[in-house]
């Protein structure tokens, strides 16, 4: 719990006043003025230049809940393989409606154990919304009719291993369900070894007159291939480790042994098509927990799953076998292009064509099986090193070490030092630390967290929002009247993606009339212009819904569009029209007569 001592705590609302007064006392004399866009005096103090372990994630959630009981709720979606809670932080204005009925954005991070900063970005989002809700009208309005389900890590076991054990920036990727990676009948028997006991897994190199590498003239810590005509001096022996099981191979069977982002039940493929997919889709408890959560929250209309690295705003499909529906691609494109503005250095691309082919990935399950507009941001990009796309001699590692030298003062690198290896003999061990290369350095962490949050909040804002715009009543004689209503979706995202419509994933939107008794009900299409007109403009076509006419079923209300319905009713008195959408929220309007 080293990390916890880093921030000022508040655990109970009863103490809130006193502690926040204490915070005022201690800080006010120092003359604090909140910078634009930052909480003025946050009730929960969290330092955003570091990474939090499982206990700290739960603690931050608990403190947010205690300090903001009407905005934040901590719950568990289930247990991981090793029994850790998979925390969900629900953020919404609980005084304004049931959060599980509002259009919702789902955000998770850290599906790959080593891709850690998504967790902090998710936590930052929860913290920021809680601390800003009473200060920023835009956020208060957002939380009045939207919900965010924030899952800081969907791989708590792998995260804990990554943070607490010696590791590299790339290990482990897997979770901790035991698997026999090398098929020799023994499980997890030969992982990485922190030979020099410094808490880091770095590289091993050995002097070799026949080696292929030399020290870089610009950056002597780095080995580069010997130029043509020049003799090498070093050979690279790989990541720090020994042949633990004596089978002649080094580090061939570390913990786990699968890819949690290939385990999802949409276009899942066996190992010879998709490595790491494990025995069957949903074989991992963490996958099953997320699926159960999403299936039981049909109000989720948008999602973000944070990965690293490379600076990408990814959308599916992951495999060339799928093609996203054109109507949906338009929506993705509009969101993604705004994302590129919010996130300089990030490119909005498609997984299979822009990155690589992924079968059975999480974002494809979200879209394919549930019809949810989903992005995966690949956090951190070398663009951030010197805020230029170029690198020294086209070499990322050289540029990164220059950055380490000039801006981090060599904190990212463990200097090479001699070591006597039981199998390789005299070698040297050294190299970059696990927190460098794929995650932001501390001074950029909050900035990148904020930008990524801003993209998700933009998406949250653009989730569908249905509104009964106008109601008109026209007498038809004989005690009958015609009631016409126009219902708008005022945001970019439709109430149903085309994937959802075609596969009938979510229920239709309902537009209901209450008050007078309904004789007949119709959906009105055509007429041009999508609403605003009354009295039947040319080209309008009314299609009767014979069954249950007081509740008209609408398959979809597209983004920034309206639908028109009408009823023939008998009797007088006020008329109330209610629009009710699983992903678009609900809204009512009444007119008197």
């Amino acid at each position: 719990m080293r990390t916890l001592s880093a921030f000022v705590l508040l655990s109970a609302s009863a103490l809130a006043g006193a502690t926040s007064a204490a915070a005022q006392q201690s800080l006010a004399p120092l003359g604090n003025l909140a910078a634009t866009g930052s909480p003025r005096n946050p009730k929960v103090q969290v330092m955003w230049d570091r990474f939090y372990d499982h206990a700290a994630i739960g603690e931050i959630g608990r403190r947010l809940q205690a300090a903001h009981p009407n905005t934040c709720r901590l719950s568990s979606m289930g247990k991981s393989q090793e029994g850790r809670d998979m925390w969900v932080i629900t953020v919404s204005d609980f005084t304004k409606g049931d959060p599980d009925k509002k259009p919702a954005m789902y955000v998770d991070g850290n599906i790959h154990s080593n891709e850690i900063q998504g967790t902090e970005f998710a936590l930052y989002t929860a913290w920021y919304l809680c601390e800003r809700k009473d200060e920023v009208p835009w956020i208060a309005e957002l939380l009045a009719d939207r919900t965010l389900y924030i899952v800081p890590t969907i791989n708590p076991d792998g995260r804990e291993h990554y943070l607490k054990e010696p590791n590299t920036a790339s290990s482990p990727r897997t979770g901790k369900v035991p698997r026999d990676n090398d098929g020799d009948g023994v499980i997890d028997e030969d992982g990485l070894d922190d030979l020099d006991g410094d808490g880091h897994i770095t590289q091993m190199r050995r002097r070799n007159p026949n080696g292929r590498f030399i020290q870089s003239p610009e950056e002597p810590r780095l080995l580069i291939p010997a130029p043509p005509g020049q003799k090498g001096e070093w050979e690279i022996l790989g990541q720090e480790g020994i042949d633990n099981d004596g089978d002649g191979q080094v580090n061939e069977d570390a913990i786990g042994g699968y890819d949690p982002n290939r385990n999802w039940p949409w276009r899942w493929m066996p190992g010879y098509v998709q490595g790491g997919s494990d025995f069957y889709p949903t074989s991992l408890p963490e996958t099953r927990n997320v699926i159960a959560f999403v299936q039981s929250h049909p109000n989720i209309a948008g999602a973000q799953s944070y990965h690293n690295s490379g600076g990408m705003i990814l959308r599916g499909p992951g495999s060339p076998q799928d093609e996203y529906r054109p109507q949906d691609v338009q929506v993705y494109d509009q969101l993604g292009r705004t994302g590129e503005r919010i996130l300089p250095g990030y490119r909005y691309i498609v997984v299979w064509s822009g990155l690589y082919i992924v079968w059975g990935g999480e974002l494809d399950w979200f879209y394919g099986a549930r019809g949810i507009v989903t992005f995966s941001n690949e956090l951190w990009t070398s663009f951030k090193l010197f805020e230029k796309p170029d690198t020294v001699n086209n070499r990322y590692d050289q540029t990164a070490l220059e950055f380490d030298r000039l801006l981090l003062f060599r904190d990212a690198f463990v200097p090479w030092k001699a070591y006597k290896h039981p199998q390789y003999g005299d070698i040297e061990i050294g190299g970059t630390k696990k927190t460098f290369g794929r995650a932001e350095p501390g001074f950029l962490l909050q900035a990148e967290g904020h930008r990524n949050m801003a993209f998700s909040l933009y998406q949250t804002y653009q989730l569908p929002k249905v509104e009964v715009d106008s109601i008109a009543v026209t007498p038809l004689g004989n005690g009958l009247s015609e009631v016409t209503a126009i219902v708008y979706n005022r945001r970019l995202v439709p109430t149903h993606t085309q994937q959802d419509v075609e596969n009938r994933i979510s229920r239709p939107d309902y537009i209901s009339l209450t008050g007078p008794s309904v004789v007949a009900g119709y959906q009105v299409t055509g007429g041009g212009g999508g609403g605003g007109f009354f009295g039947g403009p040319p080209n309008e076509i009314s299609v009767e819904q014979k069954r249950n006419p007081q509740r008209i079923e609408i398959p979809n209300i597209p983004g920034n569009s309206s639908v028109k319905v009408k009823w023939v009713v008998r009797g007088s008195g006020p008329v109330t029209v209610t629009a009710d959408s699983e992903k678009g929220g609900s809204h009512s309007k009444s007119v008197g007569r």
């Binding site: 026999d180 098929g183 020799d184 009948g185 004596g246 089978d247 002649g248 039940p265 949409w266 276009r267 899942w268 493929m269 066996p270 190992g271 010879y272 098509v273 998709q274 025995f279 069957y280 889709p281 949903t282 074989s283 699926i291 299936q295 495999s319 060339p320 076998q321 082919i357 079968w359 399950w365 394919g368 099986a369 596969n503 009938r504 994933i505 229920r507 239709p508 014979k546 069954r547």
Partner: protein
């Protein structure tokens, strides 16, 4: 879904699966034992008493519990201390709900093998050396629909499912309009109908062919009415997931009865967790609609997505078995034909997400599937009308040319049933539904039927054939053996060790797909030399596949004092294990 497409879908389904024969003559769905088949309670009881009576040679475990609360059980049979760990055959039946003959085959085979132990020398030898697991009923919820009134063919389990997405669940299933205890078909006289009475066999209906000037007279649907007043018939009955569509290979994502996603059903997930916990299962025999016995799976050359090779990341899923596995499937087929005396089998019923394909393509096991039983060829009709209609037809003939008899299979079944099961076909009789003015008639095949033989000779010979083949398959399981290794002295204290590894089984140690998957794992060959020096050879090597009867030679050079003992071990769950202690001298 429009009414007509719904009707088509349901009919396609009906005719694909249910060229059925009646199980028994009955008027009530609640009668106990009118059929030779067993409802869940009876099957469970039989399995329990079988396990109880056969002590250590039989063990019963629960694999999963269905949404209807029914336990899916697996029975292990085999004698000897290593019965639980040596290579095993798994027999899986009744993943497809109405296919209950599979349950009977599995149970009776287990029963007969156990009772023959100690009496019949062949059976005794088999059970002393081999282990067989039986899962007689993987889809007990759906199977139960054939035993409880009104009896009907159902493929999906009891998971609540809103088929028509109207926020109501199971609100409009089939109805027993003529109160005869079974759900058959309803024909509605309607000018928009596409079906007409077959001129040759007036009990049967076929699609009218407008090109021949024919006009349809009937709409044909499953027996039922519009229970919820939504102008659709039987669109949301009891039933969630068809277990035989809930596996990954070619899974019909979001398709009818396919489940929320592959392995969303407790039955499918229970099965995969069971086989993961039993890596010794080397081969699987699946009794169900998919059949690769008389028509073995073959390799087909072809390319996948964008011209890339199938079975790769870029090319996507495999579209046929791997070429190296073709001879093994051909061999299974030859054996099946020889052992059972069968000369042909019906056309395979394509079915995305089925358990048979999954076991091979996605789980790497030798996977052999049989229908178990199908309607035999009826005596040829020599009448003039019969000749016109193509005589007895060609049941399961598959490739139908232009002008072929489109209901040849059903025509054959009808003639077969007339001779052997006269009550299998319910004659069309008028029924009424309040508010419905059109002429309505209920009739057609009783549920269960063309999939499951009636009691008597057909069933008895089916059980005997299938028992023979299951026993044969168990005898073919891979088995690793090693002759005494040879030791040669190269120089003082330097020894060359040579060992031959043999697969004594009748099938390769793994399939080529299994090798690519790393599942089942290959044979681990390990020479343990302690602190001595190995000059050549590998300490640990993963080996295979070894063909049936195939062998492999390995050589090591070791430096050690004379008289040193070292051990050489070859093992894998699906091949068993063999250890040799070698003294260097």
């Amino acid at each position: 879904m429009s009414r007509s497409s719904f009707t088509d879908w349901r009919l396609a389904f009906y005719f694909a699966l249910s060229f059925c024969v009646v199980i028994a003559s009955s008027t009530s769905g609640q009668s106990v034992r009118e059929t030779p088949y067993r409802a869940h309670a009876a099957l469970t009881q039989n399995l329990q008493s079988l396990a109880g009576a056969n002590g250590p040679r039989a063990q019963l475990v629960t694999v999963a519990t269905s949404p209807g609360g029914r336990a899916i059980q697996a029975l292990r049979i085999g004698a000897g201390a290593d019965a639980a760990s040596r290579p095993a055959l798994l027999v899986v039946a009744n993943a497809s709900g109405p296919h209950i003959v599979g349950s009977e085959i599995a149970l009776v085979t287990a029963e007969r093998l156990l009772s023959g132990y100690g009496k019949d020398s062949t059976i005794t030898r088999l059970l002393d050396q081999r282990t067989i697991w039986f899962i007689p009923r993987l889809n007990p919820d759906a199977a139960e629909a054939l035993f409880r009134g009104p009896r009907q063919e159902r493929t999906a389990n009891d998971a609540p499912w809103d088929d028509d997405r109207d926020q109501a669940t199971n609100e409009d299933g089939p109805d027993d309009l003529n109160a005869d205890g079974v759900i058959t078909m309803l024909r509605i006289e309607d000018p928009t109908g596409e079906w007409m009475v077959d001129p040759t066999d007036p009990s049967l209906l076929r699609r009218a062919d407008p090109a021949k000037g024919e006009r349809g007279k009937y709409i044909l649907v499953r027996e039922g009415k519009d229970d919820d007043g939504d102008e659709r018939l039987n669109e949301d009955g009891l039933g969630g997931t068809d277990i035989n569509k809930n596996f990954t290979f070619s899974h019909p994502h979001l398709g009818a009865e396919a489940g929320m996603h592959p392995f969303s059903s407790p039955e499918a997930r229970g099965l995969v967790e069971f086989v993961m916990a039993h890596p010794e299962i080397a081969a699987v025999y699946v009794i169900g609609p998919q059949d690769n016995t008389a028509r073995p799976w073959t390799f087909r050359a072809g390319t996948g997505i964008a011209g890339a090779a199938t079975g790769t990341s870029a090319g996507g899923p495999l579209q046929s078995i791997a070429r190296p596995d073709e001879p093994t499937y051909a061999d299974f087929s030859r054996r099946f034909l020889r052992t059972t005396g069968v000369t042909r089998t019906p056309t395979d019923v394509p079915n995305g997400g089925d358990v048979l394909s999954w076991f091979y393509y996605d789980f790497g096991r030798w996977s052999i599937g049989s229908r178990g039983w199908w309607v035999p060829e009826a005596p040829r009709d020599t009448s003039a009308a019969g000749r016109t209609a193509g005589g007895g037809g060609a049941p399961g003939g598959g490739a139908a040319g232009a002008g072929a008899d489109l209901i040849a299979d059903e025509r054959n079944a009808f003639r077969w049933a007339r001779a052997r099961q006269p009550d299998a076909f319910v004659p069309w009789t008028k029924v009424t539904i309040p508010g419905e003015t059109r002429n309505l008639e209920v009739g057609g095949w009783k549920p269960g039927a063309l999939l499951n033989p009636p009691a008597g000779g057909e069933l008895d010979s089916t059980l005997a054939r299938q028992q023979r083949f299951i026993a044969e398959l168990a005898g073919l399981l891979p088995k690793v053996a090693m002759a005494e290794p040879t030791v040669e002295t190269i120089g003082a204290g330097v020894y060359r060790i040579t060992a031959d590894l043999v697969n004594q089984g009748g099938m390769p140690t793994t399939s080529s797909i299994g090798q690519r998957l790393g599942n089942p794992r290959r044979i681990r060959l390990e020479l343990t030399v302690g602190s001595h020096t190995m000059l050549s050879g590998r300490k640990v090597e993963l080996i295979g596949p070894l063909a049936a009867g195939g062998s492999l030679r390995r050589t090591w050079t070791v430096v050690a004092p004379a008289g040193t003992s070292i051990t050489l071990k070859a093992e894998s769950p699906t091949t068993g294990s063999v250890t040799r202690t070698i003294t260097l001298r």
